[in-house]
Chain length 249, copies 2
């Protein structure tokens, strides 16, 4: 399995992905799932992938080569799209093309040809944006009412996001919440695992984008995980016991 | 969907189930999913159900009528089983019989004939026990290493159980943790909803079993939900920010 999240707050964009892939529990590998599709002065396009690895690799390779342009035109790549909306559309097109080639063969073998992707970043003067691309190539955009999107095994990590994420959350706080969400997921699902890849993009163009790989021995993450467990138990103890469980004397 | 949990600690057994059923999002009903299969001086058998409602109703009706006995023998019911292990086996037999009758028709209509059940309680002098019965009629028993079992949409509520439940957890604390787990699930999944049915059985046979229905206006639950949200955010704020997000200035 996989867990990838994108958090879009006023202060910036955070994308985090794990690196564990498995074909059965005895065939576990490590693959990068968070990719930089474009990084130039006028554009940053990040992409996280979940689902069948052969499909996502083919879709990304197709994007790198470029999709067919019009008669006599150059292939269409991330270098040429004018907005992140059009970047998400191009990713969707590449996904649909990859599925068209691979899905019949996969499904004949009983393998679900499923894939989903997060596409985040900004192009030109537009603000940071975040999209979720589905396997049919259709996509949705992250909105302020729920300032995050997730793909893969999204349920274990959702309660903490539901309760804490708002568009006003500071960028370093969003990174912390994202890591807590990963910690919850990894504790409950062994098929999601470190290292994690993390990119944090401040809305302020004067501040640097942060790329970070969080390894299995990352001191901050281990401390966060231990603190979170301890604090959850402390907090729980402060909630009064159910009155119907009290001795009625 | 459904969420049902059983928590088995040294101090007793807690079983909680929601009551929401849906056939599509526009056909939502309320059905009791936590059932008392036997309640007599020598036995208490509780059962929580998840999955196709027609299957679980047929399985429970089969159990109430009794499964066929041997030649010239009375039907086999919960009144006659000598242990909770045998109670779980009888539930499994009823599930297999119900699936045998309904599954071919359901699956011809493209409906998954899935069902799972929790069976908890005690019979005679044995300690409290808890089982999870799968749709094939096979079952597993709850063990001390993970003193809880869950059925239905189990992922949202699992992180809090994973972090807090031990066999040493007090019974009222287990009830509280169970309700927090439900609160997390209901917040993230609209198809799980109040009222909740709750039974708490103390290991001490001198103490009364508590049956409680937690309605949508339950003051304790509302307070617990509000406190938990507030406390999670307070706790999160006490964890240091990621060092790699600090200005390196």
């Amino acid at each position: 399995m996989t867990y990838c999240i994108g958090l879009l707050v006023d202060a910036g964009l955070v994308m985090i992905a794990d690196t564990r892939t498995n074909a059965g529990v005895d065939n576990i590998s490590r693959y990068r799932k968070l990719h930089v599709l474009a990084d130039a002065p006028d554009r940053l396009v990040l992409c996280a992938t979940a689902g069948n690895l052969s499909l996502s690799q083919l879709a990304l390779a197709t994007l790198a080569e470029g999709l067919p342009g019009g008669e006599g035109e150059a292939p269409r790549t991330m270098a040429g799209v004018p907005s992140l909306f059009r970047a998400a559309a191009l990713v969707g097109e590449a996904v649909a093309a990859a599925r068209g080639r691979l899905a019949p063969g996969l499904e004949a073998e009983g393998v679900h040809a499923g894939i989903s992707l997060l596409v985040g970043g900004r192009i030109g003067e537009e603000p940071l944006r975040l999209f979720l691309v589905y396997e049919a190539g259709n996509f949705i955009e992250c909105q302020a009412d729920q300032p995050f999107l997730a793909i893969g095994d999204t349920k274990y990590g959702k309660p903490i996001l539901d309760r804490t994420m708002t568009t006003g959350t500071a960028l370093d706080e969003a990174v912390k919440i994202g890591l807590i969400s990963f910690d919850s997921t990894m504790r409950s699902n062994l098929s999601v695992g470190r290292p994690l890849d993390l990119v944090a993009v401040p809305s302020d163009r004067g501040e640097p984008t942060i790329h970070r790989r969080i390894e299995a021995d990352d001191g901050y993450f281990n401390d966060l995980s231990a603190r979170w467990s301890m604090l959850l138990n402390e907090v729980r103890a402060t909630i009064p016991p159910p009155p119907f469980m009290q001795p009625t004397g």
